[in-house]
């Protein structure tokens, strides 16, 4: 959220720079087709916004809407993974950690709300001696909580990222380290039962920022927040992907050394993507909690992180819309297919995982440009700047 505000704050100032003038200059002007190429994604985002914000609330039952809200929360984290992995080449297997940071921050606030002014969350009396650790205290304040939801993952991911990325830890090592992080985080939560509720996690909330959680209108609004954030971050990512930074990130993914010899520090470029992804996951976690009504270590551990990844891989890691649609599809599949085929669902998910990754590394989103290339297109030679580009996030690795 801060991202958008800083961006728009910068916009007027940027006007003085010729580089950000509207795309009207010579070679870039060109056909309506090219304009559509550039702005087609915007239209698509618009349609998604209509679907999520207008159509869904008016046609889905409260239960389905709640679920969709949860998928939206997960989609936020997935979009972050799309940024870090699809565009940045960093396979983040521990995004649950940041999801958890936001979720627990929010949950702590709601727990304190439920406890009332000066009160202590119920579980602390249940498992411990009824005293509250002092670091809980600031979460009584709603503004602090919102601040923490953004700042906490940013700081943590910056420190972790700095340690990992700067050291040029990449590829599989990076993936395993982040996964170990998720395991350690979940174990830590379980171990600190008196401070974080342990395996049970945090639950039994009553209000969120003063609104009754059981009021259908509040629930509806929580959904709107989640869906709205998805749309907002689609816009953010859309801008990011078409920006110079977006190009730079892709270039870094494909040829890190070359970027270094253009005078950039690839570590910084990747670090930015990593931090943004972490903040998005955290915000996702924060909107997840009031809708789901519970957060526990099983929502943030390694397998939860891999579930997030599954959606991204399925939808298309490098595309703008892939992770969102993938996350919603996996979430939907998980609750609905498992209703109909409780045990076969796992096989299905596993098989889907294998098939998509082996045969369709670009995810479902990569089908589209492939399909399109069947027809000769006048814009085919235009290098993809937007969202439907074929996946290239797997640099060949010397065997």
């Amino acid at each position: 959220m801060t991202l958008t505000t800083t961006r728009s704050a910068n916009e007027p100032g940027g006007g003085a720079d010729p580089a950000v003038a509207p795309p009207a200059h010579g070679r870039r002007r060109a056909s309506p087709a090219r304009l559509l190429d550039t702005y087609g994604s915007l239209i698509a985002i618009g349609v998604i916004a209509v679907v999520l914000l207008v159509w869904a609330p008016s046609s889905l039952s409260q239960f389905r809407l709640d679920n969709l809200g949860k998928y939206c929360a997960l989609a936020l984290a997935s979009m972050g993974i799309g940024l870090a992995w699809g565009r940045g080449g960093m396979l983040v297997l521990g995004q649950g950690v940041f999801f958890g940071l936001g979720a627990y921050a929010m949950a702590m606030h709601m727990k304190l709300e439920a406890a009332g002014p000066g009160g202590v969350p119920d579980f602390m009396t249940l498992y411990g001696d009824g005293t509250m650790p002092s670091w809980w205290e600031p979460f009584r304040s709603a503004p602090f909580t919102i601040f923490a939801i953004v700042a906490l993952p940013a700081v943590v991911s910056f420190i972790l990222g700095y340690a990992i990325v700067k050291r040029r830890v990449k590829g599989a090592y990076f993936a395993i380290l982040t996964q170990a992080m998720a395991v350690a985080f979940a174990t830590l939560l379980i171990a600190t039962i008196k401070q974080t509720g342990g395996f049970n996690g945090l639950n039994t909330f009553s209000t969120v920022f003063g609104h009754n959680l059981f009021d259908p209108e509040v629930k509806r609004n929580l959904y709107r927040v989640a869906a709205g954030l998805v749309v907002v971050f689609l816009l953010v990512l859309w801008q990011l992907y078409r920006s110079r930074y977006g190009e730079l990130l892709v270039a870094t993914r494909d040829a890190e050394e070359r970027i270094r010899f253009l005078g950039y520090d690839p570590a910084n470029i990747k670090l930015v993507a990593f931090v943004i992804a972490a903040v998005m996951a955290s915000i996702g976690g924060a909107v997840f909690v009031p809708i789901a009504g519970i957060i526990s270590p099983t929502n943030v551990d390694a397998s939860a992180s891999i579930m997030l990844l599954a959606g991204v891989a399925l939808g298309g890691r490098a595309s703008l819309f892939g992770p969102v649609l993938g996350a919603i599809a996996v979430g939907y599949g998980r609750s609905t297919l498992s209703e109909t085929f409780p045990t076969q669902w796992t096989y299905f998910l596993g098989a889907l995982f294998i098939v998509v990754i082996v045969l369709l590394p670009g995810g479902v989103a990569s089908l589209w440009p492939k399909l399109r290339s069947r027809w000769p297109s006048p814009t085919a030679e235009t290098p993809a700047n937007g969202d439907h580009d074929v996946d290239r996030s797997q640099p060949a690795v010397p065997a």
Partner: protein
């Protein structure tokens, strides 16, 4: 043991097999099944070890042929695809053997304890250690002295060159994978003796095993063993001071810190980085 199997597939081939934990589980179930067939407990373990090796190895081979061979150029995707495989294998085990864990009785000769260095070592732990050492020795010998071992190492160092020299790299890949998975299977038997079997057994081991491999230095057998030992001792030592869960967290944290300081692991490979 799991780490040894992993270091072979990961280190030697650059393939990250998240399903390796499930090969442990397969090994454990093989031990269980052998015990159902050969009821003489003392004997069954002797049969279970080679059986587990072969069964897990064959499964690994199947995985290599069906999935992994298509993706040698995409190590990260291999990682993800094998996650899918492990999901399927887990569910399969649950459907076949039931979610309930099954016991594996240890043979009588593993029940006692022996006093070494003033500490009472249960035979079972010693057995595991000996098993690991034997596997390490055998693996080392195969890699160093047999012609096949030379082929593996040649393929690792320069695939194209090895091919032009008439080494069938495809076969090398397959056999390496067979060996790595088989080792995991043998490790599974050891685990079955310690904690019995259950379908989710693999998941608990896979990540520590990977960390051990990375800490030890990818592709370095002695590094792997040393790292496994170090991590084990550190965790046990920490447990004396603080709760078991916190010890795990701190052990993880230490490993992560170690890796950020020395990303190449304890022992470095003098060739290009693999990842």
């Amino acid at each position: 043991m799991a780490a040894l199997g992993l270091t072979l597939t990961f280190g030697q081939m650059g393939v990250i097999n998240m399903a390796n934990g499930e090969f442990l589980m397969v090994g454990a179930y093989v031990a269980y099944l052998t015990q159902q067939v050969i009821t003489a407990v003392d004997l069954s373990i002797v049969f279970a070890l080679p059986m587990a090796f072969v069964v897990a190895g064959l499964l690994g081979l199947l995985l290599e042929v069906s999935v992994i061979q298509w993706m040698y150029q995409r190590p990260l995707d291999t990682l993800l695809a094998t996650v899918g495989v492990s999901l399927v294998l887990q569910q399969l085990a649950q459907d076949v053997f039931g979610a309930q864990g099954d016991p594996v009785a240890a043979p009588g000769w593993l029940d006692g304890r022996i006093s070494v260095f003033g500490y009472e070592w249960p035979h079972r732990q010693l057995f595991t250690i000996v098993l690991a050492l034997v596997a390490l020795g055998a693996l080392n010998a195969v890699l160093k002295y047999s012609s096949f071992g030379r082929q593996i190492r040649a393929t690792v160092q320069n695939r194209q060159l090895a091919e032009t020299l008439g080494v069938s790299t495809r076969n090398v890949d397959r056999i390496t994978f067979f060996l790595g998975s088989g080792l995991a299977g043998v490790g599974g038997v050891a685990i079955a003796l310690i904690s019995g079997t259950n379908p989710t057994l693999g998941t608990a081991y896979i990540i520590p095993a990977f960390l051990v491999v990375v800490v030890g230095g990818v592709g370095q057998l002695k590094g792997t063993v040393l790292a496994a030992w170090a991590v084990g001792v550190a965790t046990a030592f920490l447990t004396d001071w603080i709760s078991g869960s916190m010890a795990q967290v701190i052990a993880f944290a230490l490993v992560v810190i170690f890796l950020t300081i020395r990303p190449q692991g304890l022992f470095t490979v003098r060739t290009r980085s693999l990842a």
